[in-house]
Amino acid sequence: MTWDDMQQLMQPATLETLQMVGVATVVTVLIGLPLGLLLVLTDKGGALQNVVVNRVLGVIVNVGRSLPFIILMVALQTFTRGVVGTTLGWQAATVPLAIGAIPFFARLVETSVREVDGGLLEAVHAMGGSTWTTVRKVLLPESLPALVSSVTTTVIALIGFSAMAGTVGGGGLGTLAVNYGYQRFETGFMWVIIAELVVIVMIIQAIGDFFVRRLNNRGHSGGTVRLRRRRSAVSTPEAVSTPAEELTPAS
């Protein structure tokens, strides 16, 4: 098999993989994010505290996470046909991919959102904000770096799943690897496909890390100590900032 042959096969397969992972990611985030938030909000002490809902969601997520993906794929065939009209090809693979990733992502969202300092919620409540306000103005923006990181992890997990989807005709690089590498003993080609998957994973990780770093850098740049006189509209001497305060280096 020549390099050209390989390329001809790999290009459409790569596109398929990216499509199925892309669509599955969008669906996963759209459903997993609210699900993760609900897991936090309905928990004890949460704004929407509801033991029954919390338990039910918890069980669904745990069951979803413990089912092997390959079983999920087979078990969901009827459902998949109902949604996309076929059980073959990358379109069909998106359904079990998303359903497998939603509980996984929801748990990551839950963990990220729990990290947000409860004092911030209290501050927003004291300002007269609603639960929705705390979600929109505090929980999501404050946990954004962790959420982006969770999306990265989920996308990478989805790429792994998508390769597995190939074994049951899901299309993409996984199908290619199985068809040529495993069934036709084109070991060299299989290694090329694996190398490509590794490169894709590395690129996605790098992109994710880049955004997380950007977000985390909010407020961590320019930590120089500056001595500058501040004038206060409030006039007594005590109110004017003290030297000790001025000298405290920005943390």
Partner: protein, 351 residues
């Protein structure tokens, strides 16, 4: 401005009950700085959180600026529309500032304005005004992590003032700050109280905070207010625990046998009068000063002096009457015949 009536709060967790508030009656007048002091676990935080219903009291009522908050529906953080509206008129500052790290200083101050529903330009203008008021106009674009503790608390205060509240609640706002910064933040609160007529209810475990900024104070112990009132009134009360703590004179000498020991407390103008020399001149008596201290409390000069007059209480009825006529508060600590405390001279003898 803030009134609580027979406020109780019982926490129930896993069958255990903790009574954090056991019937608290608090009355904070409009325009004053009111301090609640007490040791850790006394129920101070619970009390202040009940004032804006961050914690729903088990019983009793809370009225802020004429609105009975306890009558409004809503559970703690699941507040109803009316309660949320009422909270917008009550500012709150926190010990750990509670600023959003994802927002700049200006955006943090804008947050309550977003909740109120102001548009972008109005928010900008208001935030700029508030930051100017707290002396942080040049930090608008910084992030909280770039600020010192004192600066963070100034942002917290600016944010609390965004809704033009009449009442500011402060839960240990200076407890995470060093003494110097504490002083500057307390000064700011004092100025805002004077400039804006803001009523401030603050919680602290430090007597110094009460001393430097409060008009009135309450002492909490075991979920109850054991003593409360204007500081000037408290200082005039000989049995006041708060006054003792604000103004300790414990180290002073107890006096000699056959003498009368007086404790003279003077406030404001009276301190300027040279009453000791007047007394000595008028009645031709030798006055022994055992100790004296002068402090600024609630913005007023307050002094306390322990003096010793020769003779028994009866012998000194007239001089004591003279002192009281001068507007001084005079407490007779002991009378003639007190056991002499060994051979040592009493501590702090001045003359």
């Amino acid at each position: 401005m803030i009134t609580t009536k027979d406020l109780t709060k019982v926490y129930r967790s896993r069958g255990r009950e903790v009574t954090a508030l056991a019937g608290v009656d608090l009355h904070v007048r409009e325009g004053e700085v009111y301090g609640v002091v007490g040791t850790s676990g006394a129920g101070k935080s619970t009390l202040i959180r009940c004032v804006n219903m961050l914690e729903r009291p088990s019983s009793g009522s809370v009225t802020v600026d004429g609105i009975e908050l306890t009558a409004l529906s809503g559970q703690e953080h699941r507040a109803g529309r009316d309660l949320r509206a009422a909270r917008r008129r009550i500012g709150m500052v926190f010990q750990h500032f509670n600023l959003l790290s994802s927002r700049t200083v200006q955006e943090n101050v804008e947050l309550p304005l977003e909740i109120i529903g102001l548009d972008r330009t109005q928010r900008r203008r208001k935030a700029a005004e508030l930051l100017d008021l707290v002396g942080l106009a040049d930090k608008a674009r910084s992030y909280p992590s770039q600020l010192s503790g004192g600066q963070k608390q100034r942002v917290g205060i600016a944010r609390a003032l965004a809704g033009d509240p009449k009442v500011l609640l402060s839960d240990e706002a200076t407890s995470a700050l060093d003494p110097e910064t504490t002083r500057s933040i307390l000064g700011l609160l004092r100025d805002l109280n004077r400039q804006l007529g803001l009523t401030v209810l603050l919680i602290t475990h430090e007597m110094d905070v009460i001393k430097s900024v409060c008009d009135s104070a309450a002492l909490m112990r075991g979920g109850k207010v054991v003593e409360a009132g204007a500081l000037t009134d408290l200082l005039a009360r000989p049995d006041s625990v708060l006054a003792r703590e604000l103004f300790p004179l414990g180290e002073f000498g107890a006096g000699h046998p056959g003498h009368t020991v007086l404790e003279i407390t003077f406030q404001g103008d009276t301190s300027a009068q040279p009453f000791v020399s007047q007394l000595a001149r008028t009645y031709q008596i030798d006055i022994n000063i055992l100790g004296a201290a002068v402090e600024t409390i609630a913005g007023r000069l307050v002094g306390r002096m322990r003096v010793e007059l020769p003779g028994s209480h009866q012998d000194n009825v007239v001089p004591i009457g003279f002192l009281r006529e001068q507007g001084l508060q005079v407490d007779v600590l002991n009378e003639a015949g007190l056991k002499h405390a060994g051979l040592n001279e009493p501590n702090g003898v001045v003359a």
